[in-house]
């Protein structure tokens, strides 16, 4: 081991690098029970009524946000994490709303429409000095009888005030995301887009099922890109 001029320089660089790495690792927040929030709908959104009673089945909720840490909603001050993944929260919220109006089908076969949700954003968005909650998703609505489908988008936003104490920040962030999530579900379930899509896709109950088609022809849209 040399401690000459070149050697000491190398040691200095090594020590600085290790300190920087340790610092970077320390800044990356980890979920703990103290910094984890439980997001759920405060009140189930009542869906709009249709010309005939309809049943929906939620096939899947797919995360298209591209976020490496979808459960981390706030990074500074030790971070704030969700207790479940955004896809689980969305599924639970949507099923609660449909169930409250008796519109949730027990299984795929008994459903009038199949829903596949593509989640683009769930959590906080960039903001100036406050919390800007944003939930954005697209829903592929498919009629299993005709195999036809349409895609509709929905979004919800909410703004909450800033806070100084960590406890209050957590409370505000939780409320903000819950409000944005409720708003997005309301936008979907009470929106004109859903009504128009149902009107276009719905067929009377006595119409026989369409013959099997090639997979590509009737498949749901890929929804790989954010609609706008």
């Amino acid at each position: 081991m040399s401690f000459g001029r070149g050697g000491s320089m190398k040691w200095c660089v090594l020590i600085i690098c290790s300190l920087l790495a340790a610092n970077a690792r320390a800044e990356d927040p980890k979920p703990t029970p103290e910094n984890t929030i439980h997001v759920q709908l405060a009140e189930a959104v009542k869906p709009q009524t249709f010309s005939r009673p309809l049943k929906f089945f939620l096939v899947d909720v797919v995360d298209r946000s591209g976020s490496a840490q979808p459960m981390m909603v706030f990074k500074p001050r030790g971070g704030i994490f969700l207790d479940r993944t955004p896809t689980e929260i969305t599924r639970a919220g949507l099923e609660t709303c449909l169930k409250s109006a008796d519109m949730l089908a027990k299984d795929r076969d008994s459903a009038d429409f199949l829903l596949t949700v593509y989640l683009f954003h769930f959590g906080l968005s960039d903001s100036f000095a406050d919390f800007f909650g944003k939930v954005e998703f697209a829903v592929a609505l498919k009629n299993p009888k005709t195999k036809k489908s349409q895609q509709i988008s929905a979004s919800g936003t909410s703004i909450a005030g800033v806070a100084v104490r960590k406890k209050n920040i957590q409370k505000n962030v939780q409320e903000d995301i819950e409000n944005a999530f409720g708003d997005a579900l309301r936008n979907l379930l009470r929106g004109v887009k859903l009504r128009d899509a149902i009107t276009a896709l719905d067929v009377p109950a006595d119409v026989p099922e369409a013959p099997a088609q090639p997979a590509a022809a009737g498949a749901a849209p890929a929804a790989t890109e954010k609609p706008r």
Binding site: Q48, S125, D126, S127, F128, F132, K134, S155, G156, T157, S158, I159, D183, R186, N187, R190, G191, V192, K193, R195
Partner: protein, 170 residues
């Protein structure tokens, strides 16, 4: 002692109606829409979303409307005459100049935003009020500050207009 108690009781009786009075919202619901940008207006993609969210928050605070509903939400036909829709356009945005602001001052180089909006009745699409907002802020400030000021101004103008309309009707 008796006089003080009597005075307190009188004060309570006098102020009680004012405290208990819960103002009835003039309109059942209002729907704010995302404001599109006119040609040539260069703002970040998130700006429209933020302005929309701020507008909804300000409308909720105004307490003039029973409910602030989401964009493109279904409204009962019976409620349509008592429901408003706000539509608008971001007509102009100047990003300003920090150098001009620092060297000249007195409003030179300020960041500015112009928004034109209309509040219409849902049932017959009749325009109730036309709103013109011009916001100027320092070029050092975030564009979201402008969104907040614009939303506040829009709701203030709407509130004043609806109040004067209600006064004229009564």
């Amino acid at each position: 002692m008796k006089v003080t108690l009597l005075a307190l009781a009188t004060l309570l009786i006098w102020t009680a109606p004012a405290l208990a009075k819960d103002p009835q919202p003039q309109y059942k619901s209002i729907e704010a829409k995302h404001f599109p940008r006119a040609e040539g207006v260069e703002l970040s993609p998130a700006f429209s979303d933020y302005l929309y969210a701020e507008l909804r928050a300000e409308l909720t605070k105004a307490k003039l409307f029973g409910q602030v509903i989401g964009e493109d939400e279904v409204v009962d036909t019976a409620d349509a005459p008592k429901s408003l829709v706000i539509v608008g356009t971001i007509t102009e945005f100047k990003k300003g100049s920090v150098v001009k602001d620092a060297l000249i001052g007195f409003g030179a180089g300020m960041r500015s935003l112009k928004v034109d909006a209309n509040a219409a009745r849902r049932s017959d699409q009749q325009n109730l009020t036309a709103i013109h907002v011009h916001v100027k802020v320092s070029p050092r400030w975030d564009e979201k500050v402008m969104a907040r000021f614009a939303a506040k101004n829009i709701v203030k103008q709407l509130k004043d207009s609806l109040k004067s309309e209600a006064k004229a009707a009564s």
